[in-house]
Symmetry: C2
Subunit: 137 residues, 2 copies
């Protein structure tokens, strides 16, 4: 059996932001170039136009965030791959250090990838956002 | 509200392979170092110890597979982030060119990321496989 090929349609940045905001599980994947390249699932939130997530100091994810540019992706694909979308966010990660901002972000339901006494809040700001929707033709 | 931190437990390579084989949606994410770094959702299959997926010529995914090492990740995270796992596969992608092998792989229900008249079958062979399970403590 050969499945039907899919057609990719570009999404506007506005559609991408809406999909990121409405995604129910709020899980995305963060890729680090390395070497070695790595991918981590992270629980994210949207703060204005920025992606926010938490890391624990001393973890591989924390170490990997020394990268100047990371890729972060959120998708939703149907089980039969008949439809779906993928949004890609690329930008430089930066730790949030302002105490007021940390206090504000602490009220978001953000789950860190691993346990850690003092979590870091990391933001991807000024990111390039692109996305694709795919449909059966 | 501050969610409970999670503890990460390493998975054995055998557990990782079992999780990759049993994952119902058979969707994973492939990361390309770039620059620029990219992440694509791909529909995969397991062939022996190798990861197999399809790409269409001329797509960004096809172009990106010139990388010597790629990261491929499959995960399952509960909506409340109370439990979950993530398996990471790292290796060099290679196009399958043997006609018999292409014929055999064509019988797998593999959906390409984008439409293309002549799909490529790509394998990640001799990969390093690692994984983590996270649990609330």
């Amino acid at each position: 059996m050969t499945p039907e090929p899919r057609v990719l349609e570009a999404l506007t940045p506005q559609e991408c932001m809406r999909l990121l905001q409405e995604h129910p599980a709020q899980v995305g994947r963060l890729a680090i170039s390395g070497p070695p390249p790595m991918i981590f699932p992270v629980n994210y939130a949207i703060d204005g136009q920025d992606i926010v997530f938490r890391t624990a100091p001393g973890t591989k994810l924390d170490a990997a965030l020394k990268d100047s540019v990371v890729a972060f992706e959120v998708d939703d694909v149907s089980a039969e791959w008949a439809s779906g979308w993928s949004v890609l966010v690329r930008g430089g990660p930066g730790e949030v250090t302002d105490p007021d901002e940390i206090r504000r972000l602490s009220r978001l339901n953000l789950y860190p990838w691993a346990a850690g006494a003092k979590d870091h809040f990391v933001k991807i700001s000024n990111a390039i956002i692109s996305g694709r929707r795919f449909v059966e033709r």
